[in-house]
Symmetry: C2
Subunit: 515 residues, 2 copies
Amino acid sequence: MPDSDATQLLASAHLILTRKPYAHGTHPALPKPPRRAKPFAVVIFGASGDLTKRKLVPGVFGLFKEKALPDQFEVIGFARREKSDESFREEMEEGTKKFSRFAPIDAAEWKAFSQHVSYHVGNFDEAEAYQSLKLRLEKLRQSHGIEQFLFYLATAPEFFYEVVSQLNKVGLVGPDNENSRVVIEKPFGHDFKSAKELVTSLQTVIDESNLYRIDHYLGKETVQNLIYFRFANSIYEPIWNRALIDHVQITVAEAEGVGTRGGYYDGVGAVRDMVQNHLMQLLTITAMEPPGSLNSEAIRDEKVKVLRSISTPTPEDVARIAVRAQYEGYRSSDRVDPNSKTETYVGLKLLIDNWRWAGVPFYLRTGKALTKRASEIVVVFRRPPLALFKTQDNCEQLHRNRLHIRLQPDEGIHLRFNAKVPGKSAMGAVDMDFAYKSKFGSYSPEAYERLLHDFIVGDSTLFTRADEVLEAWRIVDAITSGWAQAPVGLYRGGSWGPSESDALLEKDGNGWIDL
Amino acid sequence: MPDSDATQLLASAHLILTRKPYAHGTHPALPKPPRRAKPFAVVIFGASGDLTKRKLVPGVFGLFKEKALPDQFEVIGFARREKSDESFREEMEEGTKKFSRFAPIDAAEWKAFSQHVSYHVGNFDEAEAYQSLKLRLEKLRQSHGIEQFLFYLATAPEFFYEVVSQLNKVGLVGPDNENSRVVIEKPFGHDFKSAKELVTSLQTVIDESNLYRIDHYLGKETVQNLIYFRFANSIYEPIWNRALIDHVQITVAEAEGVGTRGGYYDGVGAVRDMVQNHLMQLLTITAMEPPGSLNSEAIRDEKVKVLRSISTPTPEDVARIAVRAQYEGYRSSDRVDPNSKTETYVGLKLLIDNWRWAGVPFYLRTGKALTKRASEIVVVFRRPPLALFKTQDNCEQLHRNRLHIRLQPDEGIHLRFNAKVPGKSAMGAVDMDFAYKSKFGSYSPEAYERLLHDFIVGDSTLFTRADEVLEAWRIVDAITSGWAQAPVGLYRGGSWGPSESDALLEKDGNGWIDL
């Protein structure tokens, strides 16, 4: 799509988004959401799918075990297949026993929990099913005092609008309905245009503030650790800017190839599958200004400001700043086009044109079949003035200070600085390290459990707002259309990607740092 | 002494010091001193003393072993007692075998070294002895091409002027003699006036640039590590100022009491014995502006600027900013006055009135018979704005970031910052640590060996310049005279000092950090 179209669409999206500024939360007006939920019913659409028994019901069960739920709550599976409450409970029991982090499950405990689980049969486009669902929820309101209705769309994206508009028709969700929330899972469109259509159509039937877009890849802890690290310490913020930072490297590397997901992945590729959401999340959290509060709208306001400061690259820009490649053997993977041009690796240089970051390259890379699984943000500081050490033996060995924020595996912080080598007029790079695990012990939060809890209590910090999604697509669209005619490079599986990606940094006198 | 006197004296000292600005090294003019020495002869005055056989000759031997000496060098002991070269060598062999870090000593190696060792008999005030010394050195010049004459005064301070003026009379040292250097050891006076007299009298017979005042307590490595740490890294300098640092704590704690040194220590006390030199050294290196080069004059210029920015405290100031105390039992120590008012502990708050530090307290403490032996500089940063975390469970637990520069024991760097406690909306203080030993292995430099080498090659960085000595005395004098009428507190041996010292920091809302 031409840039001007995108700009126009964004402008109108912005209008829609700001239609009800106070309703969806200008921060000073919003109280902190209570951490313990009010009575609720959650309806899971697509309840026959894998996600429900692997993640969602075990997740709610986990919250139940942790006593994070109110006394009154209901979990209602919604799907096409005829099924009794009892047989749905049995399926869920089987799934929970297998996938819960609390397995093995105590029978009495399951029994207590399962009293809250039931099933509602219906097609997604069947108006009557929604009518009967509404009656059912009305009864819960009367019998159990449940006022809060949550809808989890564990469905394919093409049903998002259908389900929400049906819910809207029977009055279960709507722009003025404060007690309803809907979760959808990515992908949120496959380009700017489709994402925009989805945003626009959904916003006719539900208020943006009640629409939760899950991005569970990062996990709540990692994002929060990053925010705390930046803003709960006074020593980092003053050096977090163009005057002192040389460049930033963000890597999300996977060791696995495409495996059995070729059918989904081919035609999508790394930039849409990973950069548009996960890497942009990391970029914006790293680069954002300090928010006015930890309120989700305040944080998301700052994140989207970062994206708005990244100008849309022209096709000529793309040739200079973006590298794509496929690992050798990708085309012979199951359900992959033998002539596929889909990239499994992307290397990218983005500039954020604001006061804090102008001129500081943010290098992003992500790929499959790389050396190892690792997600890491490396902040490389400028070299100190060398004049002082020019008479020393190894002035050229004055390393740039580096701060590594390690997300996966083994989350932690790592600082590299220079120290004198004892007994010599020479310097050496030395390291300090902090691992969350070593201080706080092993902590394996179940990502879905945390996100479900946030959804239940109405904390949207970790969910992606429409304007973020669209701004990210604006940038990603420009890259994919810039690539349209260009060939796709190759790289060896198990390597760190194609040499063109190294060259991207070498042009600036930099290089990817081995993780 | 009244403040105005001191000011006047300092002004005249400044004139003397700047008399020959280019001769004693305006930095751009000075080339880097060669690290390998030119042929030299070193004459040790007071060669019968312990220091010579324990430290000095073993130190020169160490440099010989390390091949850090030129082929032509001579070590000449100078003392009153009649002695042959041979018997002096035997004494030195005995000392070296016992105290050298290279013990056991290879006989052949000692033999080769001892060819360079000889003895010269004479009284310090005996003109003829200097005449004959001159002849002897003249011969060395002719026979061995030795042009560089070094004089090490391992004598009591009262002989400093006598020896140097005798050397001056025979032309061995003098304001225009570039090839002679003299080392003296502390104490450099016992107050401003005596220090000033010593400076002034010595400067009539030797140029300041050739007078080396040894302060070996800190050791070359520690001071250099500190300088490298501050200026070889780009992340510390931008946060090293009043905008970001709350206060600085400098501790030099000794676990031992006065022991057998009561005769020397009593009447001197902690402020003269430790603050005037060691703690002021640490203070100035921590607080100084980046020097223009690593040249010794450049560094000493910056250090003395820090001292000049500390205003002379009035007696009323002293009552507020200085605490003195004696450990219980001190007065019954060997050779200590039973009514002694000598302090064995001092706690002090100093302010540096310049752009970088105005308003940032520097808390200094040193004492004997404390909890443990530890020298450490702790830089405490300001708290970040709390607003962001005010809705969190433990906002008050937002620790101030701290950087610990550990000098003794186990030299290293330690950084404390805040991190999110996994799974909770809470923060915890976490630590990163770097130990020189763990990176570079154990390194035990022989302090004297390093300092002798610097003396031989003419690197005066680690020696104290006259203006530094005097500026430090200016401050220390004000404190001791402010104390004249005040009682001396008591503290329990093995504690961290008197409660008055804690109160000194509590007034500012701070507290000593346990080391």
